[in-house]
């Protein structure tokens, strides 16, 4: 059993080496496979019973928004070790930037493709503005400040109603346009495909850039900072500016996600950016495996699909059982009346608690954490080599 696995690994060795050496290529390749496979999977049972392919593809595009959020938050929390509890604020800023840049409300009609860059930039600026005074704070204080920021931003959008239309939010946000390019079907409510492809492209590029950063001077500085701030400073790392960069890059990713989200929904309200969004993104990062971008992408996708699809199906399934109500003294448990969606944050919480107890490194731990598990073997080898070199 083990021998065949080793054999397989050796045979795959050169391919793995190649993919590791050509990271951007393997990311593109992986994303392309996902792009093709996902819409096909939903055509087979049981998934085809849950909705049309179009519904699913639209759902995947929405999932992509959270995947982007998780990628960005992972830079801040997973790589640089800065606990940001108000990440949705930057998402909101990106979304409102799009709403001002191209909607009936503002009267402007800036192309979506430009707004992506503008939204990312505006969010990054806010990231710097929030980060500059607060990143000197120790971890727990930073968590509280970001929590506050996450609360304030939607409140501002809610209460500054002269400029934001308050609770009603902004409607009539322009959808992206390809300007009839190559006769491709345009973006629209009835056609989710262009959104799906666009968000996959954005995710692919974001993933490439994050991997490049991670394996660069900046990425190593982030991890060094996360591991030991004093030691990092003694290496000549300017801890404040390094943290600021992580914060700004994380914020810009959220801003970008916000622009896409806004353009896809065509209308936004402040209530869409409350604490639950920050919490969900954080849960995705933790569940996926902090510090590992691929893991975080998968984690975000799985969590989103459970939230948007799984729980509905669980409801339907529970009802279809026609189980008789169980009486537990004062409480009566009737499966057919439970609305699992109402319990989603309870379930999230339980999943996180279980995770911390059973698999604190996340579902898909980063390469570094995984290496720890193989450490014992490496140790034995090294000692053997020692013995050889000494004789």
């Amino acid at each position: 059993m083990t021998t065949t696995r080793i054999g397989l690994r050796q045979r795959l060795g050169p391919a793995r080496e190649f993919l590791r050496g050509h990271q951007s290529l393997s990311i593109t390749f992986g994303m392309a496979i996902a792009a093709v496979v996902l819409p096909l999977i939903v055509l087979i049972p049981p998934f085809n019973g849950f909705g049309t392919q179009k519904d699913f593809v639209g759902g995947f595009a929405d999932a992509g928004v959270f995947v982007l959020l998780a990628i960005g938050l992972n830079v801040v929390v997973g790589l640089a070790g800065l606990l940001d509890l108000g990440y949705a604020a930057f998402f909101a800023i990106g979304a409102y930037t799009m709403a001002y840049g191209a909607s009936g409300y503002s009267g402007l009609d800036t192309p979506f493709w430009i707004m992506i860059v503008v939204g990312a930039f505006v969010a990054a600026v806010f990231g710097l503005l929030l980060g500059a005074p607060t990143l000197r704070l120790r971890g727990d204080y930073l968590a509280i400040v970001t929590l506050g920021f996450g609360e304030i931003v939607p409140l501002v959008f809610l209460n500054a109603d002269t400029y934001t239309n308050g609770t009603n939010g902004i409607t009539g946000i322009a959808q992206p346009s390809l300007y009839g390019l190559a006769g491709i079907n345009g973006f629209g409510f009835t056609n989710p495909w262009p959104y799906y492809i666009t968000v996959l492209l954005i995710i692919t590029i974001a993933t490439m850039l994050v991997y490049r950063l991670q394996d660069s001077r900046l990425g190593r500085a982030w991890v060094a900072l996360r591991e030991d701030e004093l030691a990092a400073a003694s290496m000549g790392i300017n801890t404040v500016s390094t943290k600021l960069l992580a914060f700004a890059i994380g914020a810009s990713t959220a801003g970008l996600a916000g622009v896409f989200y806004s353009a896809k929904l065509a209308s936004i309200t402040p209530q869409q950016f409350e604490f639950q969004v920050s919490f969900t993104a954080l849960a995705m990062v933790v569940l996926g495996g902090m510090g590992n971008t691929w893991g975080v992408i998968l984690g975000a996708f799985i969590v989103y699909e459970i939230q948007s699809q799984g729980l509905h199906q669980l409801d339907a399934f529970a009802k279809s059982l026609h189980a008789p109500p169980i009486s537990l003294g004062p409480i009566t448990l009737d499966l057919s009346t439970i609305n699992f969606i109402n319990y989603q944050y309870l379930l999230f919480g339980l999943a996180l608690v279980l995770m911390m107890l059973l698999r604190p490194e996340g579902l898909f731990p980063s390469r570094r954490r995984r290496e720890e598990l193989h450490e014992a073997a490496a140790e034995v080898e090294a000692t053997a080599a020692d013995a050889v070199s000494q004789t």
Binding site: R220, E227, D228, L230, A233, M235, G236, A378, A382
Partner: protein, 268 residues
């Protein structure tokens, strides 16, 4: 004719000049009127009983603590109160008494973090993964490996730092500090927890750092034989005050020192 030439001039330029350095922690004088003239290429020892203020001194010299009073000149530049990262960039490297490696990074990456400042970055080049960026990464890796060879850790390059044996962790910490290309290296109890053979290797390593790389060294140690063996000059601290200074043999014979420190060590 020759005798009148100012031949001694370069010798009198000090690498580090410390005057009247004091530090109080809520009334406790951890360091009191410390002074030092450090010539380039010396190996200088600071000894003293527990709580004498040795680590406090290192924290101040490396910018982690601000002194209550006093001045520090490094290579002619006033660095008093400069933040730690700036002091590090100016050329003072250090290790920590309680090892502070980047535990979740590999041995190689620990050294890369230290050396990467010598390969100037560009965010744009990184994001585009330009050939220049990739070449710099390769050069950095080669340099980091070379340094690991020097301290005998090359074979452990892919291990996580926190899984190293204790003696190896101490050596990696020194390698990491050397990686920042310091002119002055502060070693806080580098031999703590090492066995005699590891200590001998360490002694040789420290000498090589000075002789081959031209690094001036200040070290704190409780291991008196090591200090006596290695150091050109010694200072003795007790309750934050300097009580003796000079050649190892002279310091060893100083009755104050015997009373304050060596006596205590002998009793223990």
């Amino acid at each position: 004719m020759l005798a009148t030439l100012p031949a001694a001039e370069p010798e009198t330029t000090q690498l580090l000049e410390v005057r009247g350095l004091s530090k109080s922690f809520r009334g406790l004088r951890a360091l009191d009127g410390y002074a030092l003239d450090l010539r380039p290429l010396t190996i200088h020892g600071v000894i003293g009983p527990n709580g004498a203020g040795k680590t406090t001194l290192f924290h101040i010299l490396s910018g982690f603590l601000r002194p209550t009073s006093g001045t520090i000149y490094f290579a002619g530049q006033n660095i008093t109160g400069s933040p730690a990262y700036r002091v590090a960039r100016l050329g003072i490297g250090r290790t920590f008494q309680n090892i502070r490696l980047f535990g979740e990074l590999s041995v190689l990456d620990n050294v890369k973090v230290a050396m990467q400042r010598q390969w100037p970055p560009s965010l744009v080049a990184t994001l585009l993964s330009t050939p220049g960026f990739r070449r710099r990464e390769r050069e950095l890796e080669a340099a980091a490996l070379e340094l690991l060879e020097r301290v005998g850790l090359a074979r452990r390059r892919d291990q996580l730092a926190r899984n190293l044996a204790y003696g190896d962790q101490r050596r990696l910490e020194i390698a990491r500090a050397v990686g920042t290309r310091p002119r002055l290296l502060l070693l806080d109890e580098p031999s703590a927890g090492m066995n005699p053979s590891e200590t001998q290797e360490l002694l040789a390593l420290i000498r090589r750092l000075r002789d081959d790389l031209g690094i001036t060294i200040v070290l704190v140690a409780h291991d008196i034989p090591l200090v006596m063996n290695l150091c050109d000059r010694i200072q003795v601290l007790n309750y934050g005050k300097l009580i003796a200074e000079g050649h190892p043999a002279a310091v060893r014979a100083n009755p104050d020192v015997i009373a304050a420190y060596l006596g205590q060590a002998r009793r223990a």
